[in-house]
Symmetry: C2
Subunit: 298 residues, 2 copies
């Protein structure tokens, strides 16, 4: 997978090669860290976080289309945590694994450009293959991310609709003059417009994706209709309650165009015979097969 291909083309290749739409979250929590990870590290937070992430890359790598480290769980431990984040990114690159940086950044103008530089410019410590971003500041605040992503073959996922209860507070408000359109549908329109100039000839996917929670199959189906060329990142599968069948409407007709995230169920699986490593491998395999089995390409 050459690095100069657009991210979403590389992700499609990974999906086909591994038969997997699974995105594995990397959410290190010291309070629930398995002993197999902490053993011998004497409470060294940087080493524990790095080993946790590296083990996940190793164990779940064959079953994952990509990984999604959540930077909040690293920032929570300050510079030591951030050094671990950087080490995990480096290890993922060494292994040829794709990384979505889950950072949900967002700001205006030159500040947005600085975040884009941080995460999307080649060679930086925090360089990832794709980044999650927040749309509250509007299209001109998203544009610097799009420009940088398009320039370097990176991907973006804009928060469109989330499945937490409070997601409805703003996202589901009906817009006054728009015949029942809701705020998240406006965001879907921005995502589509921003991505349209940057659509891959190979896959037909734009470089601006969307985070769309697995609320209901009907909601996912409607969003796929509104954003036909938009890559989706779907959280809410597994520990959060969505089933493999629930997320099927997120894919395009040929089964492409979406990855489905699972974090807790793979990071902290119920251990079989006391082995966290075996349980992670088994949980990742099961999630890949469960998700893949639900897709019946047209």
């Amino acid at each position: 997978m050459a690095n100069d291909l657009p991210f979403f083309d590389r992700l499609e290749t990974a999906r086909r090669e591994r038969g997997s739409v699974l995105c594995v979250g990397i959410d290190p929590r010291l309070g629930t860290m398995p002993e197999e990870v902490t053993a011998g590290l004497d409470g060294d937070v940087e080493a524990v976080l790095t080993r946790f992430g590296t083990e996940l890359l190793e164990l779940a790598g064959p079953h994952a289309a990509c990984f999604k480290p959540q930077i909040a769980f690293f920032e929570a431990h300050g510079l030591a945590g951030l050094r671990a984040f950087v080490a995990i990114l480096k290890e993922a690159r060494r292994r040829g694994l794709l990384i979505i940086g889950d950072a949900k950044r967002g700001d205006i103008g030159s500040t947005a450009a600085a975040y884009a530089q941080a995460f999307l410019e080649p060679g930086g410590d925090l360089e990832v293959d794709a980044l999650t971003i927040n749309p509250y500041l509007g299209a001109d605040a998203l544009q610097p991310f799009v420009d940088t992503a398009a320039q370097h073959g990176k991907g973006l996922y804009v928060l469109v609709r989330t499945s937490n209860p409070g997601g409805a507070d703003l996202q589901e408000l009906e817009v006054g003059d728009a015949g029942g359109q809701r705020v998240f549908q406006r965001v879907a329109g921005l995502v589509r417009a921003l991505g349209a100039p940057h659509t891959s000839a190979e896959t037909g996917l734009s470089c601006v994706g969307a985070v769309v929670g697995a609320t209901t199959p009907a909601a996912l189906d409607a969003l796929r209709g509104e954003m036909p060329d938009t890559p989706f990142l779907v959280p809410g599968y597994g520990a959060q309650g969505g089933t493999a069948a629930d997320v099927v409407p997120a894919y395009r007709a040929d089964g492409s165009g979406a990855v489905v995230n699972a974090s807790r169920s793979i990071n902290y699986p119920k251990a079989e015979a006391g082995s966290w490593r075996a349980a992670v491998e088994s949980a990742a395999r099961a999630a890949r097969e469960d998700l893949h089995g639900a897709i019946t390409p047209a």
Copy 2:
């Protein structure tokens, strides 16, 4: 200023003691870095960024109610930039200067709690006195920040209305069934409700503030009316075009309740006789006097 008082009480004390509502941004940009800062550092990014921030604390400190480092400009330089960010925070604490971390973080549930831990728990590398956060994910995603802030005497500023052109894309949408109410007014309502249980007996200010851009005096006046107990952080003064008179409606009747940010005009002032240091001191003094002079407490 004891650290166990609520942030917004400490900020009011700083405002009264210094006669200043000025918040000085710290936005290091390598492309426009003055030679007085880079001299002798041989291109060492961490050292340049640290010196830039430390000089601003030194030069503008007597004129500022608080400082607002923008973390994006540090993340842009990876771990070296983040080490500089941490060094500047440490220097600010040593000097007793208040810091608003401009990070605009936001995520759901335990992830939001991890961000709150990163920035608001005492003793962490990234600990600040107050943090900017993003409301797109709704009230339940803001709650962990509020809980942590209330516990540790920290402050929050939720993005409510921004003055960039794209700010209108979502923030100004009219909500269907609410008699002309707009999305940002819904956010204002969330801010007010989240902060209500955490109001200081001393100042009457809640621990949940709002970022409200200096769009028009009438708009600020309306927002002050909707959020009477909410501390405001007002960007858009100085280089971004707002005048001291424009932001007056952001204050409460006694002149309290808001700080006004200036970044570019103080970070990169037009140098007088070639001295950046003298120009920064002079620009900070002028901004303090300009803003203070426009306030006529009732």
